[in-house]
């Protein structure tokens, strides 16, 4: 049995094309889990939220490719 994996990446179409089954949209290519325009603590909160979303995706049964947008 395979390992559940969630792909955290910005360019969702590529993630879908290459076959990821659990996808969490990230912020931008050079900083997928960050935003340099935010103050440090807001940026950390953003990152924490994205990782929490990723964990939720790992806990969700999926039958086909699923993008966890919200």
């Amino acid at each position: 049995m395979g390992l559940p994996v969630v792909h955290v990446a910005s360019i969702v179409p590529i993630s879908l094309t290459v076959g990821a089954n659990r996808i969490v949209p990230a912020v931008a290519i050079p900083h997928p889990l960050g935003n340099p325009e935010l103050p440090r603590d807001e940026e950390r909160a953003l990152r924490l939220n994205l990782v929490k979303k990723a964990l939720r995706a790992l806990q969700t049964e999926v039958a086909e490719q699923t993008v966890f947008a919200e």
Binding site: S10, I11, P13, I14, P25, A28, I29, P30
Partner: protein, 423 residues
């Protein structure tokens, strides 16, 4: 808009007391060129070396290649908004030192710079093995931040190319090419647009349109003459194989070909500039906007080029899909990253609408480059540039590299003849 390009054929380059063109030879005053470069105090030292087609010379690491040109008459200055004043270019007359090139060389800013071999098995892969190259080797001051380093090299290259171009100002051209989009009366000729995405992804991945960072623009329209007259400048080095050098920009092969056939087989209606952004929203916005512009100007067909690979493949597919949705037929020009054996999928994204694709080659192909008698620059970075790898350099200086590391080898503007076929 009517642009005359006065083509001055250069078939040799030499050092001389005075920078001038005589009898097809570009003479370069080395000291003046070095002094010009060092006016930017971000640069600590500079040197100039020459490389001619057929010589046993390897130039590495190369950041950009620029064609020396000069505005002879008409509005606008060379590289407007960058080193020249802002002002529309693309009309009047511009002299071109065809067969000459200014090559910026120096300690790499990132990993993306490339190499040019003037002879041997690597030569056919770069258009710059056939130009008489003035290599400007630039050393940054200690501790210079990467953004400043990149900018210093970029501006020094443009200034140097403009300086060399001045030598052609009063020289009678060997040939004059006239570029004018005359009105097409034959309504049966298909209306064809050129959709031109520019890389806009940050340090060493940027492009400038009239001096504006392409990250900051929305897709827009431009007259092909403006592109041919220096409105677009490269700040990019995504990988040497498929970066659009500033040379490639002014000599945009798609624009040339569409111009050649304008009024005969097609009606070249204009150029849509768009940008390749780093967010999904940015890509959706740009492809929507660019497709809408293509529709607005009445395109029936469009050639779409690309810069870089990986995430820009998504932009290419989005543009294709959205234009198809408007009934605009497209042909895409792309390179491939099919692995060293050519056996992997070549693109990171795909769409069934992309039924007409021109391939400019598999950039992962490995070539064995022999040691060269002379190296301009520094051979050591070969192992860290994109396309190189630890152990790719032999003790004698020979290189086993992917063509990814060769300047212009798979440029998706279609200047070269390299392609890949399915076996």
């Amino acid at each position: 808009m009517r642009l005359e390009l006065g083509i001055i054929e250069i078939d040799d380059v030499q050092f001389g007391d005075e920078t001038r063109v005589e009898g097809g030879t570009l003479f370069v005053n080395k000291e003046e060129l070095i002094d010009l470069a060092l006016q930017d105090d971000r640069l600590a030292a500079a040197d100039v070396e020459l490389a001619r087609p057929g010589e046993g010379v390897r130039i590495i690491p190369v950041k950009d290649v620029i064609e020396p040109r000069v505005k002879v008459s008409g509005p606008g200055e060379i590289f407007p908004g960058m080193i020249g004043k802002v002002g529309t270019v693309g009309s009047g007359s511009t002299n071109v030192l065809r067969g000459a090139a200014l090559v910026t060389v120096g300690r790499i800013v990132g990993f993306q710079e490339g190499l040019i071999d003037m002879s041997g098995p690597g030569a056919p892969y770069s258009p710059f093995s056939r130009t008489n190259n003035v290599a400007l080797i630039l050393h940054p001051t200690a501790g210079l931040a990467p953004h400043a380093h990149e900018e210093a090299l970029r501006l020094a290259g443009l200034r140097a190319a403009a300086y060399l171009g001045e030598a052609g100002k009063d020289v009678a051209p060997d040939e004059v090419e006239v570029y004018e989009l005359s009105p097409v009366t034959d309504a049966a000729l298909p209306r064809v647009a050129y959709v031109h995405p520019l890389l806009a992804q940050g340090l060493l991945h940027d492009t400038y349109l009239y001096g504006v960072d392409a990250k900051k623009i929305l897709p827009t329209l431009i007259h092909p003459n403006e592109v041919m007259d220096g409105a677009i400048v490269s700040g990019n080095c995504v990988s040497a194989c498929d970066k659009h050098t500033t040379y490639h920009h002014v000599n945009n092969a798609v624009i040339h070909e569409l111009y050649r056939r304008h009024g005969q087989d097609l009606n070249f209606i204009g150029v849509v500039i768009t940008n390749l952004m780093v967010t999904l929203a940015g890509k959706e916005r740009a492809s929507d906007y660019a497709s809408n512009l293509a529709k607005l100007i009445g395109a029936q067909g469009a050639i779409v080029t690309n810069e870089g690979f990986g995430n820009p493949d998504t932009d290419l597919m989005m543009l294709c899909q959205k234009m198809k949705g408007y009934g605009i037929e497209t042909v895409l020009i792309t390179d491939e990253f099919a692995g060293r054996d050519g056996g992997s999928q070549s693109l990171a994204d795909a769409t069934p609408e992309a039924s007409a694709v021109i391939s400019v080659g598999n950039a992962n192909e490995v070539v064995a480059l022999p040691p060269m008698k002379r190296t301009i620059g520094d051979l050591k970075p070969a192992e860290v540039i994109a396309g190189g790898f630890a152990g790719c350099m032999a003790a004698d200086g020979g290189l086993n590299v992917e063509i990814q590391g060769i300047m212009g080898s798979t440029c998706q503007l279609g200047l070269g003849r390299l392609t890949a076929r399915g076996y």
